[in-house]
């Protein structure tokens, strides 16, 4: 929603449509409300020049003061603060309004996350003048008023807003190239098979949130198009709790990695869809993440490792998953249980509903569990930063390797691509060898669209973008 009714300072370019799908280009930032920007020689000062043509839905111009207020809001609210802090923006003193259409942001040191953080829905540019009359002591940033009111400048504005249904109408005064769709209705339909049925009958154009079950037969019936969109910022993996037995021992973790026939699982459980994250070489190539791990199927080696680690007769453990992701992980869990049993790892499968799973996950009380994650800011070092260190919930395995922090610092301070890549390669080698997270694949996002729909854009947030859609 926020994506459509608000604009941000910067965004990314979209690739040319390939097979009806357009991917966003992380390496091609382009201006959204900022027409262009200059970066000082030392990389610390960003000067944003705003588009003079941009106006808010209420007709007033987008000024630098609105941008300043919006960013200050984003830094102050606990729910949005993190992403901006990552970009180096921690205090409102760093933002200065130069004139109506120019503002600068000064960073303590160069930070490759600033532009990224400003492109996320955590930093929408809001109409400060419109919101200010509604601020209260208890709500200094207008969050209550904003829940029911649209203070944006985006390509669409809200016409109806109900929990089950949101209707957007095209904003013909938007600065950008005019979207093809005049109306966009977002309707909640509880059953995913019904969502697909609606698209096949021509009563809806896009169905999302689909499981492999729901998309079966779509291609065969030919009444709608099935898109299987590669997700470069996602991965599916097995978490091993490194803070307690038995998985605190790297040998046990590696044993598990060798015990799984990834190719077979990719074919039978994932139906060959997505991008495999296995079968890589031992030597790390390039600095991209996630990168294919190199544990070839070797049950004998798995058994040997277990014996080395002190489990000659195997071990018993629990494999957990969240019922909210059961459609994705149920089959995988069963397949894993079967294969692990062959090397003596006896697994009981445990399922928990969302809130309970979250609680156990935060307390790191599950020895083994299946998870998938989407990283919005998927620079290579982001993954290491979030998933492999720190005391937050996202460090699923509780992994703590002192070698990583200095390498991350090196990557941060790297002035050349070569230095950054070198630091990354070292980090990737460490985490792939230590395997606190055993990766399976990057999923293919299942979306069903009508036969006449084209130009489906894939963004880092994985949700549909009506602005790019076209109808033939």
């Amino acid at each position: 929603m926020s994506w459509h009714i608000y604009d941000r300072l910067v965004t990314f370019a979209l690739d040319e449509p390939a097979d009806k799908i357009q991917q966003y280009r992380l390496d091609k930032p382009q201006g959204d409300l900022a027409e262009r920007w200059d970066i000082s020689g030392d990389g610390r000062i960003y000067t944003f020049h705003l588009r003079r043509a941009a106006i808010f839905h209420d007709g007033s111009a987008v000024t630098a003061e609105d941008v300043r207020w919006s960013l200050q809001r984003a830094i102050s609210l606990p729910t949005t603060r993190f992403v901006l802090n990552l970009g180096g923006l921690t205090s409102e003193d760093q933002i200065k309004v130069v004139d109506e259409a120019t503002l600068t942001i000064t960073l303590p040191k160069p930070n490759r996350y600033l532009l990224l953080s400003l492109s996320t829905p955590f930093a929408p540019i809001m109409n400060a003048r419109q919101i200010k009359p509604h601020l209260t002591e208890g709500d200094p940033w207008g969050s209550e008023w904003l829940k029911g009111n649209d203070a944006g400048s985006g390509a669409y504005r809200v016409t109806t807003f109900r929990p089950d249904q949101v209707v957007l109408e095209r904003n013909d005064k938007w600065y950008g190239s005019r979207p093809a769709m005049r109306w966009a209705v977002f309707q909640t339909v509880p059953e995913d098979t019904m969502r697909v049925a609606l698209v096949e009958r021509g009563l809806a154009d896009v169905a999302i949130g689909l499981t492999p079950n729901a998309i079966e037969g779509v291609e065969h019936r030919g009444k709608a198009q099935l898109l299987l969109i590669p997700m470069p910022n996602q991965f599916e993996f097995l978490v091993m709790n490194t803070q307690s037995k038995p998985f605190e021992d790297v040998r046990v973790r590696q044993a598990l990695a060798y015990a799984i026939p990834q190719q077979e699982i990719f074919r039978s459980v994932f139906l060959g869809r997505g991008t495999p994250l296995f079968g890589g070489s031992e030597e790390v190539h390039g600095a991209s993440f996630p990168q294919a791990q190199s544990f070839a199927y070797d049950p004998k080696r798995a058994r040997d490792l277990l014996t080395d680690a002190g489990y000659p007769n195997g071990l018993d453990t629990t494999l957990s998953l969240c019922t909210c992701k059961a459609e994705y992980f149920e089959n995988l869990a069963v397949a894993l249980k079967d294969h692990l049993a062959r090397v003596g790892i006896r697994v009981t499968i445990d399922k928990f509903p969302g809130a309970r799973f979250g609680e156990l996950q935060a307390a790191k009380q599950m020895p083994l569990y299946l998870e998938n994650q989407v990283a919005w800011l998927n620079l290579p070092d982001y993954w290491i930063r979030i998933f492999y260190r720190g005391n937050t919930r996202s460090n699923f395995s509780g992994y703590a390797n002192p070698a990583l922090d200095p390498l991350l610092a090196k990557a941060d301070d790297a002035t050349s691509e070569a230095d950054y890549d070198a630091a990354m390669r070292e980090m990737i080698a460490i985490v792939n060898r230590d395997v606190p997270l055993l990766m399976f694949r990057q999923a293919a996002l299942e979306v069903v669209i009508g036969k006449d729909i084209g130009n489906y854009a894939y963004w880092f947030h994985t949700l549909p973008d009506v602005r790019s859609l076209s109808r033939n």
């Binding site: 949005t80 993190f82 089950d164 249904q165 209705v185 309707q187 019904m194 979250g358």
Partner: protein, 365 residues
């Protein structure tokens, strides 16, 4: 209204009726007051029990709702504080009871709106569905039950038994899915099972919240047609399920009444079949059916979650279920409170109706 009175007997009858009308107000008010007073501890116990259970169940909502990419301990603590969960349970209970007093049922964190607003918007949807389903069920089950009793052992009797058994042995979501498949996907006769009205038709202005009534009152025939069309499949699904208790109760009540003394007397006195069945037997047989209707209606309101899910119906059942799975306390508590009040209200209404219909019950209370 005074009509010419042909006989003395009639005169006595009218006098009795007038006395009855004068009697009702005091007796009824007393009755209602007593029942409402008795209801308060029940509702109170209900609220406290739900409150405690929700907090004892595993699942920490603060963690669930902390939504940033990297939920830190600080953010979780902030969310917990906003949810009011950082205080002790008895303290939370007192705050909640105080809030209920000022009609504040808290916020739903799954939808971000006040619980009272959600329930107020969604209750008419569930009520309308349950009411229409009940009416549908009654139009089939009462004639069927009566016919089965009068011509006992005949085709009607067997048909009644078969229909009841089939209806109650299929879970509602199976019936719902089958009907959707046949009438929507296959035959294309039914509209898509999403919501109460076509998304491109503006809903009529909200007077009662019942779309059928509101659209008739504002003369919006397109809305009426759309709302009625979408009511068909879900209400038929629910009606099929409740046919069983209603049919069987009608049949057995009717059978019981038909073999009673006063019916035998009436027949012996030579009254026509029609008079016996309609004026005497049927009206007496309705009493237990009334009670069953109350039970059935209450059950329908609470357990139509699956039907709401299959048909995308924006009612209170699916709302409460989603909240429960997400450990969102306030909606679940609000739902239980609402259901408790509704059930008490429905039973009260049934008792009053019973009292009006049966003088013996009135005297006994």
């Amino acid at each position: 209204m005074f009509a010419a009175l042909p006989t003395q007997a009639h005169a006595r009858l009218v006098r009795h009726r007038m006395l009855f009308l004068k009697e009702i107000p005091m007796g009824l008010v007393n009755f209602l007051l007593r029942r409402l007073l008795a209801a308060i501890p029940t509702v109170g116990a209900l609220v406290v029990a739900t409150f405690v259970i929700m907090r004892v169940l595993p699942g920490d909502p603060a963690i669930f709702f902390a939504s940033s990419p990297v939920p830190t301990a600080e953010e979780t603590a902030y969310v917990r504080q906003k949810l009011g969960l950082d205080r002790s349970v008895p303290e939370q209970l007192l705050i909640y009871l105080k809030d209920i007093g000022s009609a504040d049922l808290g916020m739903s964190f799954t939808t971000g709106r006040p619980v009272l607003t959600e329930l107020r918007e969604r209750l008419p949807a569930s009520l309308e569905l349950a009411t229409v389903a009940l009416i549908l069920a009654l139009t089939v089950s009462i004639p069927l039950g009566v016919a089965a009793a009068i011509w006992s052992g005949s085709l009607f009797d067997h048909a009644a038994r078969i229909i009841s058994s089939i209806g109650v042995s299929m879970p509602t979501f199976v019936t719902g899915l089958i009907l959707t498949y046949v009438f929507f996907l296959w035959l294309g006769l039914a509209p898509e099972p999403v919501d109460r009205i076509d998304m491109f038709i503006t809903a009529p202005p909200r007077i009662t919240g019942f779309l059928l009534i509101d659209s008739t009152l504002s003369g919006d025939w397109a809305a009426l047609q759309s709302a009625a069309g979408r009511l068909v499949l879900p209400s038929v699904t629910m009606a099929i399920f409740v046919l069983s208790p209603l049919t069987r109760m009608t049949r057995s009540a009717m059978l019981g009444v038909l073999s009673s003394d006063f019916v035998r007397t009436a027949r012996a006195m030579g009254l026509s079949d029609r008079t016996v069945y309609v004026r005497y037997a049927f009206r007496n047989a309705l009493l237990p059916v009334l009670t069953t209707m109350g039970i059935v209606f209450s059950t329908m309101l609470g357990s139509n979650v699956l039907v709401e899910r299959v048909f995308g119906w924006p009612g209170i059942g699916s709302f409460a279920l989603n909240a429960l799975v997400a450990s969102d306390y306030a909606p679940v508590q609000g739902f239980v409170l609402l259901m408790g009040l509704l059930l008490i209200g429905i039973n009260l209404a049934i008792d009053v109706a019973y009292g009006l219909a049966d003088p013996r019950a009135r005297r006994a209370s």
